[in-house]
Symmetry: C2
């Protein structure tokens, strides 16, 4: 049996304030939990008998076997997925990372938790080690972000910083590309891997302060004719298209 | 004032059963409503004074001016966006469409309403006129799909059919590409525009029956190394990457 107080303490982690007070966050489901167990310190696990417990789990891990009904009381999901874990956050900052010679994604005010999770999953797919977020970007430990990242949070560093200051101060050999609706066509621009790709907010795009410190604007072209008129792409989709084009030019040919 | 019965009747349209009994569906927000007004017959509009009423709206449209509080009672969104409209569905079937010589997206059991909406938005961006869905694919008139498509439902035909039968019966000159995790690299395969790109279910991919009637499997490559290990991409993201590569090879160079 899990105590009511324990259930309450776990569910409180749905709120950012409580997450940062305790430096803890929630992850749910086989794929996500088992992947995060590889590289996040685990504080607590509640799991039903159906959970595929990985053999690399630490012996000291506090694991409580629960019924499906008990898990329902703890879980933040509509359909709980056999396991819920509480992990310790990683405290990493931009000064811990060497950005030279590699591809980085920077996010200027991405608001939707699911979009951030999708972007982390994309970063993992295209081997983008670091995602640098503006202070106004949604919290990476938001449960919806953790779920949408499908375990990729285990492989990608996500750090928060004052984005204009960071971009202004960074090694000047690193290319800073702003993704916009009026830049150079990504498919006809020679892209450089020593780069930071900046993606903007869902509704407003990249802020003027951030755009001002980028070297070049990039555009994902669309087919123009009378019939079609999508005005924009989802920020996760746009991040995937840009990342893919860097990798296609540099690695996939 | 909108009557309680009217409010109830509108909110019932959140259920598929009621949508198909009445052939009506809901759309909300300036962008989506104003775009759908161009090409769907409108049954009813509830709007606050903040709505940007387009000048191309039919004079006979039943428009009711409501307060923000009234709109909250009708709306399915957490934050209503000034306007909610009820539209008549379009009844279109695969036999109404000529698929030759163009790019088509086919969906084999896509379950998530948001993913379908995202895919329609992507189709619009990359000028894919037709999206053919298996009977097991989520309903295109699901309010979450309509919202996620951001008005692109106005430009893209979405039809439902028995997908294996449709693919088996189609003109044999049309290429049928299955998107899988073990096909040919899209970036090194010469792609043909006279084609149907098949995308599978979120968890299980493409069904064996559908795969059996495709000519070729395509793969979105990823960077392989020890650190990164995303196992899959979101189906919306994968659709965008495949569509973009067709357009890059055929139109963007």
């Amino acid at each position: 049996m899990i105590s009511k107080n324990k259930i309450k303490a776990i569910r409180m982690l749905s709120l950012k304030k409580h997450r940062y007070e305790s430096s803890l966050f929630i992850a749910e489901g086989h794929k996500t939990v088992n992947e995060l167990l590889r590289c996040f310190e685990c504080d607590f696990i509640a799991a039903t008998e159906k959970w595929d417990r990985p053999d690399y789990i630490s012996e000291n891990t506090d694991i409580q076997c629960v019924t499906e009904n008990e898990l329902k009381q703890i879980s933040l999901l509509e359909s709980p997925q056999d396991v819920l874990a509480v992990f310790k956050m990683k405290k990493l900052s931009v000064s811990d990372i060497d950005f030279r010679g590699k591809l980085t994604i920077a996010l200027d005010g991405v608001q939707d938790a699911g979009n951030l999770g999708t972007i982390i999953r994309i970063a993992d797919w295209f081997a983008v080690e670091n995602v640098v977020c503006s202070q106004g970007t949604v919290d990476v430990y938001n449960p919806k972000t953790v779920q949408a990242s499908m375990g990729s949070l285990a492989h990608v560093n996500v750090v928060y910083t004052d984005l204009p200051v960071f971009l202004k101060g960074i090694d000047s050999t690193i290319h800073k590309y702003a993704t916009t609706l009026d830049g150079e066509n990504i498919y006809t621009t020679k892209l450089n891997e020593n780069a930071i790709i900046v993606m903007g907010n869902e509704g407003n795009g990249i802020s003027p302060e951030v755009k001002a410190v980028c070297d070049k604007s990039l555009l994902i072209p669309k087919i123009l004719n009378d019939r079609f008129s999508a005005e924009s792409l989802n920020v996760g989709v746009a991040t995937a298209l840009i990342s893919a084009e860097f990798r296609r030019q540099l690695n996939f040919r």
